[in-house]
């Protein structure tokens, strides 16, 4: 336990967090894992807290994961989607948030298509703000659940070689993973077509592989990013077919690895595009463990931002607080 570390008001990204803060969240998630295994999946830790899930972009997995985390901590939650709300009538982000806050809420979980939107909101309202993905910037809870899953599988993060594969340019998951992994001592690489690797990425202290074969040769863990199919229409890659042939993670390619490689994917997957089904469903895939851990990590984040102390997480879980 890193009882000395605390989180600030908001969780907007991992770039400016300390390794101790990240470890605090991972450690706090451990006792919360068990809650989801119970017949009655509920503890009273956030009883009386009001949380708004403010989603300006479509999301199933992340929104549902947050909602389960909130409900299993006994918080009262409201979901607001951009379509059909005042947002679609031209209300600004800051007005939407201030109106919600005027109803005396405690936390906002926000997903927004603009990079920096979570930070923008956090600087303007008193409630805690949790970034559930902002543009191409960060998706911190996804990276945290990835870190927890790697730690579960390998027993450590430090010294592991983790490669992020695919559309790094447009990926907030990649950026958050990059910060979290490097802060906890992993070696990080990115691999993809040069059209989908951002300028200056090597200056952030990561290796760059232009070919998937090189990445497989090197890595202990492959985190395979979703290839958004609209990238093809915008001309970043010529075709999905060629992408699969050149960059697809296939059993044939993995067989050449000197060691078993842990396979991760943040979802939703395009089977047969960035990842072959035999890999996604194979023995080294931890893709569904990631989803399970997502709830525990988000419970930990909600709990800590609400003022909970790490050493009380066990007690909170038992309902004894």
């Amino acid at each position: 336990m890193n009882a000395s570390a605390t989180l600030g008001k908001d969780l907007t990204g991992l770039e400016h967090m300390t390794p101790d803060q990240i470890r605090l969240i991972l450690d706090t998630a451990e006792p919360f894992k068990e809650v989801s295994e119970r017949p009655i999946k509920k503890v009273p830790a956030l009883r009386g807290k009001t949380i708004v899930n403010l989603f300006f972009e479509a999301s199933t997995r992340t929104r549902v994961s947050f909602e389960f985390a909130e409900k299993r901590l006994s918080a009262d939650t409201v979901n607001v989607a951009a379509t059909g709300s005042s947002v679609s009538k031209g209300e600004t982000l800051v007005d939407t948030a201030r109106n919600l806050e005027a109803m005396r809420i405690d936390m906002v979980v926000i997903r927004h298509p603009s990079s920096g939107a979570a930070e923008f909101l956090g600087n303007r309202i008193a409630s805690n703000v949790i970034n559930a993905g902002d543009g191409k910037h960060e998706h911190p809870t996804q990276a945290l659940l990835d870190l927890l899953t790697i730690r579960d599988k390998h027993g450590k993060i430090e010294g592991l070689k983790v490669c992020l594969v695919g559309d790094v340019l447009h990926s907030r998951v990649a950026r958050s993973n990059l910060w979290g992994l490097t802060k906890l001592g992993a070696e990080v690489a990115v691999c993809g077509p040069w059209t989908l690797l951002p300028r200056g990425i090597a200056d952030l202290g990561v290796k760059v592989f232009g070919r998937i074969e090189e990445a497989i040769e090197w890595a202990d863990v492959l985190n395979v990013l979703r290839l958004q199919l609209e990238r093809m229409e915008k001309g970043f890659i010529p075709s999905v077919r060629e992408y699969y042939r050149v960059f697809g993670v296939t059993p044939e390619r993995l067989e050449r690895s000197p060691r078993p490689i842990t396979i991760m994917h943040p979802g939703p997957m395009n089977r047969g595009v960035e990842i072959d089904s035999r890999v996604a469903d194979g023995p080294h895939s931890v893709i569904l463990d990631q989803v399970t851990n997502g709830v525990a990590v988000r419970m930990a984040v909600l709990y800590l931002l609400a003022g909970g102390r790490a050493e009380l997480a066990d007690a909170a879980k038992r309902g004894a607080e």
Binding site: V94, S115, H137, R175, R199, G200
Partner: protein, 433 residues
């Protein structure tokens, strides 16, 4: 008949005549009547003791956006001219991307009349290159010039068609006006909101590569050579552009260029924390670009400083970075920012800075002013070069407050601005008129 003014005991800097020393300046009938030591005031003259102050030709800004007609909540000709006067500017050139676009003689005449009504800094209209700035058909340069336009530009966007740019450069020769271009290759820049580099990668914001500017800079100098016209390159931001302009000037191509105070002093790191006041087009680039731009301004490859004063309403900038408009105001901070960063740091002498902010811009657009020569129009500024002040956007005369320099401690300030022999800004006495 206006009252004569005697500026007594000041330090006169007139780069047009390499003047840099103690002298009085006498202004009569709206003209410079005399510059020298121990001048006596004629009857009824207003005598101002400007000891310890610097007397220069008024500053000239080739690039401002005044939002009138169309967005008078953000700026008007009068409020922009007032902000200009407060910044030591006696003449500013208003870009035509108004609503409707200033693309005909009536629209140009409207700006001239609004400027005359305001009676502050002179506002020279710039006419559009193409009707509606649509990049299709040439606007009527001849009629716009006769109505008062001093240049043509589709600024805010580039002249995308190379054919149209060539035609504009050729056609403008008849009227001896420059074609000012906003250099941005649109397919490379599409969707970009800041400089493409390490910071944009970290922030997850779409970048605009320096090549988007450099490609059009290269095209424009080639077209200027082909057409024999005068191309003026707006707000240069990239070191690669500097190299192209340097080579073009060596080859004798008629090219001039400007750079803004913010591109001379800030880098893309100003966009950290998603500060929308650091969002401008072209974007703030890297330290090596800033160094190259400073060097180019020093040796004249870039001719002058222009503010690209671009007012925006508070609500527009109070938004996510992607959603905020490009642009910052600059008229009231331009001199002090440049003076603090370039002169106080020892890179430029004060006469060199005045040359780049007054004499040279006046020459580039063939305007009066930029000189204290005998008989020249009495557009004069007086600066307190040692005045220390902090930028307080709420004190701006501009209607907008969108500056990246809020709170910045600066040195140097306009204390007196005189246009055609009339005081239009007086910091110590009545303030700006």
């Amino acid at each position: 008949m206006t009252r004569p003014i005697l500026l007594q005991g000041g330090h006169v800097i007139d780069p047009s005549r390499d003047l840099d020393g103690a002298a009085d300046v006498l202004i009569q009938d709206g003209k410079i009547a005399s510059v020298g030591r121990g001048l006596t005031a004629p009857d009824g003259a207003l005598v101002r003791n400007v000891k310890g102050k610097v007397v220069t030709p008024g500053l000239v800004d080739l690039h401002v956006h005044l939002r009138e007609p169309g967005n008078e909540d953000e700026e008007t000709v009068a409020s922009g001219a007032r902000a200009a006067a407060a910044g030591g500017f006696t003449a500013i050139c208003a870009m035509p991307n108004t609503d409707p676009v200033t693309d005909n003689q009536a629209a140009v005449g409207f700006i001239v009349r609004q400027s005359d009504r305001a009676g502050l800094a002179r506002v020279h209209p710039i006419g559009a290159v193409s009707i509606g700035q649509k990049g299709e058909r040439l606007a009527e340069f001849g009629e716009m010039v006769s109505a008062g336009a001093v240049a043509v530009s589709d600024d805010g966007k580039p002249v995308v068609s190379s054919h149209l740019m060539r035609t504009a450069l050729e056609y403008a020769r008849t009227f001896n006006v420059p074609v000012a271009d906003h250099c941005e290759e649109p397919t490379l820049a599409a969707g970009g909101v800041m400089h493409e580099g390490l910071v944009s990668t970290r922030l997850g914001l779409k970048g605009i590569p320096a090549a988007a500017e450099e490609i059009i800079v290269a095209r424009d100098v080639l077209l200027a050579e082909l057409a024999g016209g005068h191309v003026h390159l707006c707000h240069m931001s990239a070191r690669g552009s500097v190299a192209i302009i340097r080579e073009a000037k060596e080859r004798g191509i008629r090219v001039t260029a400007e750079v803004t105070p913010h591109h001379l002093t800030l880098t893309d790191y100003a966009c950290e924390e998603y500060d929308t006041h650091a969002k401008m087009n072209p974007p703030l680039r890297e330290a090596a670009d800033v160094a190259a731009l400073r060097g180019a301004l020093k040796d004249g490859v870039i001719d002058c400083i222009a503010s690209d004063h671009a007012p925006h309403a508070y609500d527009e900038k109070e938004a996510a970075f992607d959603d905020a408009p490009f642009g910052v105001v600059g008229l009231e901070t331009a001199f002090a920012v440049a003076h603090t960063e370039l002169v106080e740091s020892g890179l430029f002498t004060l006469p060199e800075l005045i040359r780049r902010m007054s004499t040279e811009p006046a020459r580039v657009f063939h305007l009066g002013g930029g000189t204290l020569a005998l008989g020249a129009v009495a557009d004069v500024a007086v600066f307190d070069a040692s005045a220390k002040w902090a930028v307080d956007p709420t004190a701006f005369h501009s209607k907008s407050r969108n500056t990246p320099f809020a709170g910045r401690a600066l040195t140097g300030r306009a204390v007196l601005t005189i246009v055609a022999g009339e005081i239009v800004h007086d910091l110590d006495h009545s303030g700006t008129r």
